[in-house]
Subunit: 211 residues, 2 copies
C-alpha cells in the first residue's frame, strides 16, 4: 500500500525519466527522505499539528512531490506508521515459530523488546499519542494493528473468538505499555522487565489459548 | 487538596466577607461553576489547549478568581480530574466489600460500568487523552490513579508485590478501555460487555490474588 502511486497517476509503466520526475534511483532516495522526514515530523508534533508542507520543508522538497509519492496527509501518516510498526508487525511471525504452548511468552517478550528499545519506542509513542487524539490517526492504527497484527495472530489460533482473544491479549500488553512508558506509574515504570514478563506472559497465553 | 487556597492566601480563617471576595454561599456556587467550566474546557480542548483565561470566560468570572480558588492551571486540572474520577476512585471501595475471591469480577464490573456510561466516559476520555499527551497532565493522572486508586487496592491485598499486582490488573483494564473506547478495534469495540467481563475478570483476579 505504501508504494501505491496517487490515483491520478495511471501510467502502466513509468518511463525511465520524464519531466518533473526524477530517475528511479534518485526517486527511491527522495521517497525515503520524505518518509524519514514524515516520521520525524509526526513523532515531534503528532498527527494534527503536522502538515504536508512541513514534511516537504523538512525533506527539502516541494509539497507536490510529497503528494506525488504518498497522496494525502493521512496516506503519508499511514506509510510512516507502517515503517515505524514494521518490528511490531513481525510479532505474528514471533507467534508462528514454535508451538502454541509458548506463544504467550514469545509475544510478550517481543512486544516488551520493542518498547524497551528507545529507537523503536519513540515512533511507537508518537503513534499511540496521535491515535488517542485524532480519529483519522486512530483509523490508521486500527487498520495496521487490528488488520495486520491481531488478525494474523488470531488466524494461527484456530479457536472460537480468536480475534477477541488476540485483542484482549493485546489489551494487556497495550495497558502495560501505557502505564509503564506513557503515564509512568510506579512501581511498574521501574520494575525489571523480566519481573513483568513473568507475570504478564501467562495472562497473554491464557487469553490466546485457554479453553 | 481541591479546596486548598493558593499559597499567597495565608489568612488562618477567612472572614465572612472582604473586598473582592464573595460571601460563603455565593463563593461555593462560584467555585462549582468554575470547576464545571474547567471540566468542560479540559474535556473539549485537552490540557494543552485549555487556558485559565478560557475557563474564567466560560464560567463568567475574572481569571483572578480562578487563580484564587484553585491556583495554577495544573491545580485546576487536578481538581477537575478529581471530580471526573470520583466514581473510579470509589473502585477501591468496590474491592473492599466482600471477599477477595470475587475481587476481580467486582473491580472489572465497576470499571466497565464507568466506561459504558456516556456521562462518566466523556470526562475519562478527556483525562486519558490529556495524560497521554502532556507530562503535567500525566503527573496529575499518576498522583490520582496511582496514589489514590491503585495503592488503596494494593493495601487490601496483603501479598508480596501488591502494588505491582494492582498495576498489572489495572493495565488489563486500561488496555481494554484503550482498544474498545478510544481506538475502537473490532470485534472488541462492539462485543457484549458481559462477554468481555467473563474473559477479563479472571485475569484481574489472578493478577491481584494468585500465589
Amino acid at each position: 500500500m505504501t508504494a501505491t502511486p496517487p490515483a491520478h497517476d495511471t501510467s502502466p509503466e513509468p518511463p525511465a525519466r520524464r519531466r518533473g520526475r526524477p530517475p528511479r534511483t534518485e526517486s527511491a532516495g527522495t521517497r525515503d527522505r520524505i518518509l524519514t522526514a514524515a516520521r520525524e515530523e509526526f513523532s515531534a508534533r503528532g498527527y494534527e499539528k503536522t502538515s504536508v508542507r512541513g514534511i516537504a520543508k523538512a525533506a527539502g522538497v516541494d509539497s507536490a512531490l510529497v503528494h506525488h509519492y504518498f497522496g494525502t496527509k493521512e496516506q503519508v501518516f499511514e506509510a510512516a506508521v507502517e515503517l515505524a510498526f514494521a518490528p511490531a508487525l513481525n510479532a505474528s511471525d514471533a507467534v508462528a515459530e514454535g508451538s502454541l504452548d509458548g506463544v504467550g511468552e514469545r509475544l510478550t517478550r517481543f512486544i516488551f523488546g520493542i518498547w524497551e528499545n528507545p529507537t523503536t519506542r519513540t515512533p511507537l509513542l508518537a503513534i499511540v499519542r496521535s491515535a488517542v487524539n485524532n480519529d483519522t490517526a486512530a483509523a490508521v492504527f486500527r487498520r495496521l494493528v487490528a488488520a495486520q497484527l491481531l488478525r494474523r495472530i488470531a488466524a494461527q489460533l484456530d479457536l472460537p473468538d480468536a480475534e477477541l482473544r488476540a485483542e484482549l491479549a493485546a489489551a494487556q500488553l497495550v495497558g502495560c505499555a501505557m502505564l509503564r512508558y506513557v503515564i509512568k506509574v510506579e512501581p511498574l515504570a521501574s520494575a525489571d522487565p523480566e519481573q513483568i514478563i513473568a507475570r504478564v506472559a501467562p495472562v497473554v497465553q491464557d487469553h490466546l489459548t485457554s479453553p
